[in-house]
Point group: C2
Chain length 348, copies 2
């Protein structure tokens, strides 16, 4: 059986109708709403064919047709067209992003919020994977007699620090030497490389006099590095799910919420997704809890290198076209923002 012009037109109408109404689509109402030029009976025949081909399903005998995952997949791959966003939305995104340039994490959080507000879906964003980020400078700073701060700056502009308490008095001199020495050893190394180096060893042999201080600093150095490698997950628009009739059932809403509250798994799942725009529909998500959901994600870049992700989650019946455009536009703008400022606010 062939997916001819007319079948495609009918399928498209059904998908469109179902996406906006959430009601199974019947032949009669379809022929009334859309000017397809054929009678309901003909549409019925075509629908029956489309069902045989796996594009439609049937909740029960006397109900209308509902698009299958295969239909959405076809729609996403072939039918839907790239849509130009309305100037209004473009302006909102640009304005919100540029007006709120701030610390990287805050910007990402804000982008997620923006996304959920525009799409009326649940949105999420993860901060960049910093495995490829390189170390730039390491500093040990005196605070008081027994407290020093360890500060690590990476190429991407990320600054991390830990206050550490020593159980003996240090000299400023020794802090300085160790700082310089560490910067020398680690500068240009990626965070993951730095973590695999046999750290304490190198300092004990190199600088005998330093070894006491180094032994105190190193565990914290490792801990801070690990901390810098952590990917943060932000979510917004959690309650948007309640507007969907498919989640009018309390147990479904609950399952959805519970799945999202497992941030660790979710962050991992998102991290593992392909670069660029990626759409996964229902069972394609390979996750029991996501079998009725679709995910759309896209990647943004920091200085063209570090990669973070951002996207939405919602019922498989979602406005793929619009939402994909929004996400694409948003990530493009994000990458742009981070190209100019490195995610930090400039002087002024």
């Amino acid at each position: 059986m062939d997916l001819n012009e007319r079948k495609l037109k009918i399928l498209q109408a059904i998908i469109g109708d179902f996406i906006s109404t959430a009601e199974p689509v019947g032949s009669r109402s379809l022929s009334k709403k859309y000017n397809l030029g054929v009678s309901p009976a003909t549409i019925r025949n075509e629908m029956s064919d489309l069902e045989d081909m796996g594009f439609l399903t049937h909740p029960h005998t006397s109900a209308g047709r509902v698009p299958s995952e295969k239909a959405y997949r076809l729609y996403v791959n072939s039918i839907m067209e790239k849509r130009e966003l309305s100037q209004e939305i473009k302006d909102t995104i640009a304005k919100e992003l540029y007006d709120n340039v701030s610390e990287l994490d805050r910007t990402i959080e804000h982008a997620a919020k923006l996304l959920s507000e525009i799409t009326n879906l649940t949105s999420f964003a993860i901060t960049p994977n910093k495995e490829q980020d390189t170390l730039k400078c390491i500093n040990l700073l005196p605070v008081d007699d027994t407290t020093v701060v360890l500060m690590i700056v990476s190429e991407s502009g990320k600054v991390s620090n830990t206050a550490l308490r020593l159980n003996y008095n240090y000299t400023e001199e020794s802090l300085n030497i160790l700082s310089k020495s560490m910067t020398f050893s680690y500068r240009g190394k990626t965070l993951s490389e730095a973590l695999t180096m046999d750290i304490i060893q190198s300092f004990e042999t190199d600088i005998e006099a330093m070894s006491g201080l180094a032994r105190n600093v190193m565990p914290n150095f490792v801990k801070t590095l690990e901390d810098m490698l952590n990917v943060n997950l932000y979510m917004d628009g959690l309650t948007n799910i309640f507007s969907f009739p498919e989640y009018n059932d309390i147990t479904k809403a609950r399952t959805f919420m519970e799945m999202l509250s497992n941030k660790k798994d979710l962050a991992k799942k998102i991290s593992n997704r392909d670069d660029g725009i990626m759409i996964t529909i229902g069972t394609e998500n390979d996750d029991e809890g996501l079998k009725d959901c679709s995910l759309i994600t896209a990647t943004y870049h920091i200085d063209g290198k570090l990669v973070g992700k951002l996207g939405v989650i919602g019922p498989t019946r979602m406005k793929y076209e619009e939402i994909t455009s929004v996400i694409e536009y948003l990530t493009d703008n994000l990458s742009n923002t981070f190209k100019l400022t490195g995610g930090k606010n400039d002087d002024e």
Copy 2:
């Protein structure tokens, strides 16, 4: 009418029963379950009196009685006794807190998680209000030709930093002088005091040569101070609300979730609560969205000074006794943790 011994006993039984079953309590089932030594008819008479006194309400004629807010208030104030926690829960709390000593914010977040797991309620915690925190040291650190990091350390051990890009080359010397000079001016001042000082002014007149650098640094200094003053709100156990029959209604669950997603208002509301254990029931919360909820909060201290809060939110029908004990024990332990380490992990 007098709230005599027997009335009190019956009221207590009704409250206890309703808290655990969520079903209106009838005279017959009450007399069966609890050994009150009187017949259902007598209980009915007493119930009728208790209703007249405002302690019970009546969903409808043929339903059992439900405790009113006034009853809960009486229970919380006079009837309930301080309960000794089970050793198991004590151990869990102690273990979880001491095993996870880490950055302050992480510890608070972890405490909130722990609290929701133990109580099966929605928990929240806010980081300390740092208005009384004092500045300890301010540092400007060279990173590369045009980037410096501004680092601020406060007495409580909080370290904040911003990377800033200058539009001209600086000298290490000038950074040093400005750091020292800022530290000298601000050391010992509270964060809020520092914010009200006419900052740029003072540096322009004092150190002519510095004014260009200072002009670049100061806006960031102010911004970072403001950032340090921000109180963070953590929540956990959001989906616990679904286990309560009173939230089986999707619109109620939705309203609850929506109220909690407004983090700003919530943080404010919690900040404004009294110190120590505070219990507010239903309309006592003075908030339409909270009229069917009770809040229990308690305060923890950092080094005996800075004050943060932590608590739970749930239906008015909650196990006040148990939960209050848990929260009290938890905040005591938190304060203890922060007394020993200042919320930071020591050198090993």
